[in-house]
């Protein structure tokens, strides 16, 4: 099976998952006690049964469920997710799309940080199994696993923001004098604001990926071909980084894909703590305001992004590992 047919098969396989995502989102939307518009109606003391009926008709809520679903799905394909319940009545897609880049930027940076730190850490810990270095990293990993990210964020704000006054603790850039800054100063200002959020969103991943690298490396280092490489006198550096690491990191691509929802989910927490105008903050404020259209729009858009991320990971894996696309490797 060639690469192209593998790709086509994978994309076709996404279709049912896509419909599943939209079905679940639609189902959640209809969990609302009453219906999505009942909140608006309940707040209006002058609402009469006839008006309510007219509103239902206007929102299409008097139609059977499958008709409503088809209509909603049609809207989704055209990126028409309805209008927000909030007083500005803006389009949901506009609200989401203006916030997506920030969330993606931060998650991308934290992913880079995770890879840059956890891989060398895991490799070192595996190479020197049971050394002091290994034990210290293991302890750190356990602590990072157990620490609530928002608490770490609070502590960092307390130390860096308040106690030592080194870093800004909210927003994406300074409010005062930002317009007068030159390009370099603007970038510097952004970076200073992003250090803490990026670090906080990376903590869980740092722990998980270093642990994963370590165990994966340990597994690979026991294999025969490593012994062979050493026996033929290759320098240890080459054995570790060229022969072992490459194979140890293969499954990483899949795990990267799988960790996307967790990362985006985490953005709810750090965006609300650091007052960053991203999708997570939008989600949070939508929950607080019971802004159902925004809530559902967010849910379905993020899930579809995750789906695409997973596809990318699968394709990447197949590109580096021929066993996958030729179907030689047994499915888990």
């Amino acid at each position: 099976m060639g690469f192209i047919s593998f790709l086509l098969k994978r994309i076709l396989g996404l279709v049912p998952t896509f419909f599943g995502i939209t079905l679940i989102s639609f189902f959640v939307m209809h969990l609302a006690p009453g219906e999505p518009m009942s909140l608006q109606a309940d707040f209006n003391p002058k609402m009469t049964p006839e008006m309510r009926q007219r509103l239902r008709a206007q929102y299409g809520l008097d139609k059977p469920l499958y008709v409503q679903y088809a209509k909603w799905l049609k809207g989704l394909v055209h990126l028409d997710l309805g209008r927000s319940f909030s007083p500005d009545r803006r389009k949901v897609w506009d609200k989401i799309s203006e916030r997506l880049p920030v969330t993606i930027l931060i998650n991308f940076l934290s992913m880079l940080l995770i890879l840059a730190v956890s891989i060398p850490l895991g490799v070192r810990a595996a190479v020197r199994e049971n050394s002091l270095f290994d034990q210290v990293t293991t302890v750190l990993v356990f602590l990072a696993y157990a620490a609530p990210a928002f608490w770490v964020a609070l502590l960092l704000m307390l130390l860096f923001g308040i106690e030592w006054n080194l870093l800004p603790v909210s927003g994406l850039h300074s409010l005062m004098g930002y317009d007068q800054m030159g390009l370099f100063e603007k970038v510097l200002d952004w970076s200073k604001h992003l250090i803490l959020p990026v670090f906080v969103s990376a903590i869980g991943g740092l722990a998980g990926f270093s642990r994963y690298t370590r165990s994966s490396m340990l597994e690979v280092l026991r294999q025969d071909y490593i012994t062979t490489a050493r026996a033929k006198g290759l320098p240890e550096r080459v054995v570790i980084y060229r022969h072992a690491l490459r194979n140890a990191l293969l499954p990483f691509i899949t795990i990267l894909g799988l960790s996307i929802p967790g990362l985006i989910g985490g953005s709810v927490i750090f965006e609300s703590i650091f007052a960053i105008p991203g999708v997570g903050q939008l989600m949070w404020s939508a929950v607080m305001a019971r802004d159902y259209p925004v809530l559902m729009g967010n849910l379905v858009i993020v899930a579809i992004l995750t789906l695409l991320g997973n596809l990318l990971a699968d394709v990447g894996y197949a590109a580096v590992d021929p066993r996958i696309r030729t179907g030689l490797q047994e499915q888990e």
Partner: protein, 291 residues
């Protein structure tokens, strides 16, 4: 291999003792056990242990730093933080057990169905798992919570219903490998029904990995609850939970560090305890790590 003889009552008691001894011989597992034990003890005896009523407002002693009268200080309403922390242990214990209980039950049933029946049942269930895994859990929870009253019960149910996918995959894999074994075949020949085979023959043999993943899941459930409570959509004040105590810590970050430090520390230690216990159990059940 265990023989039928070994399950006489006397041997059973001895085996249990031996198991406990072996478990406790690993210092990490032991410390996990001790931490979880302390949590359970604190939660049960909270009214006896707490020096003050956790909800008593004392306007003369607002935001006091830790002192001999209030070991961990007081909050913005003059309530004793130590007492609130102690009562908060109840929430954590409850959330851990109920949410993970739900997740494990749902995951086990779906995973068993998929693994045992295979074919289209398997495809449908596993596709459902894939779909659920596309949603960031916290987004899904928030969307559902927005429609419900944010109460502790709703939180636990929603956390449970969004956290079963890992267990389902695990149980499915166990069933796939176990259902082809001879003892399953033997009981089928003896005329056992599907239900008897699934629950009587296969499931008991898959208990160990389920137990490990449940123990490790408790920490995750506690973290999720605390994050939701911190965001104001979980356990609602005045009921003290470690998460909603931290919300107050955030609001008073500049003037009262103790409000932020101690509840988070409590979460950290508790989750650490469950994780250590879970890892210990995993090593204990792993035949490759036995001498």
């Amino acid at each position: 291999m265990e023989t039928a003889l070994s399950s006489t009552p006397i041997r059973e008691g001895k085996r249990w003792q031996k198991t406990m001894l072996e478990l406790c011989s690993n210092p990490l597992t032991l410390s996990g056990l001790v931490i979880v034990g302390i949590l359970v003890f604190t939660a049960i005896f909270a009214p006896v242990l707490a020096p003050y009523d956790p909800q008593r407002i004392d306007t003369y002693h607002i935001l006091e730093a830790p002192s001999s009268a209030h070991l961990l200080g007081t909050d913005g309403l003059g309530r004793d933080c130590l007492s609130r922390l102690i009562f908060g242990a109840r929430i954590s214990l409850l959330v851990g057990f109920v949410a993970v209980g739900i997740a494990t039950a749902v995951g086990t049933v779906l995973g068993a169905l998929a693994g045992y029946y295979g074919k289209w049942v398997d495809s449908v269930i596993m596709r459902f798992v894939d779909i659920m895994l596309c949603f960031p859990t916290i987004f899904l929870i928030m969307a559902v919570i927005a429609f419900l009253e944010p109460s502790i019960w709703n939180i636990m149910i929603v956390i449970g219903l969004t956290g079963w996918m890992g267990v389902a995959r695990l149980v499915r894999a166990e069933f796939l490998s176990l259902k082809k074994r001879d003892f399953v075949l033997a009981s089928r020949i003896c005329g056992a029904s599907d239900l008897q085979i699934v629950f009587g023959e296969i499931l008991p043999n898959a208990i160990a990995p389920i137990l490990v993943s449940a123990t490790l899941g408790v920490g995750g459930a506690i973290l999720t609850e605390s994050a939701l409570s911190f965001l104001g959509i979980g356990v609602q004040p005045p009921t003290p939970s470690w998460g909603n105590m931290l919300t107050e810590g955030k609001d008073n970050l500049e003037i009262a560090w103790w409000l932020s430090v101690f509840p988070g520390l409590a979460i950290l230690v508790t989750v650490l305890g469950y994780n250590l216990l879970g890892e210990g159990l995993r090593d204990f059940f792993d035949p490759r790590k036995k001498r």
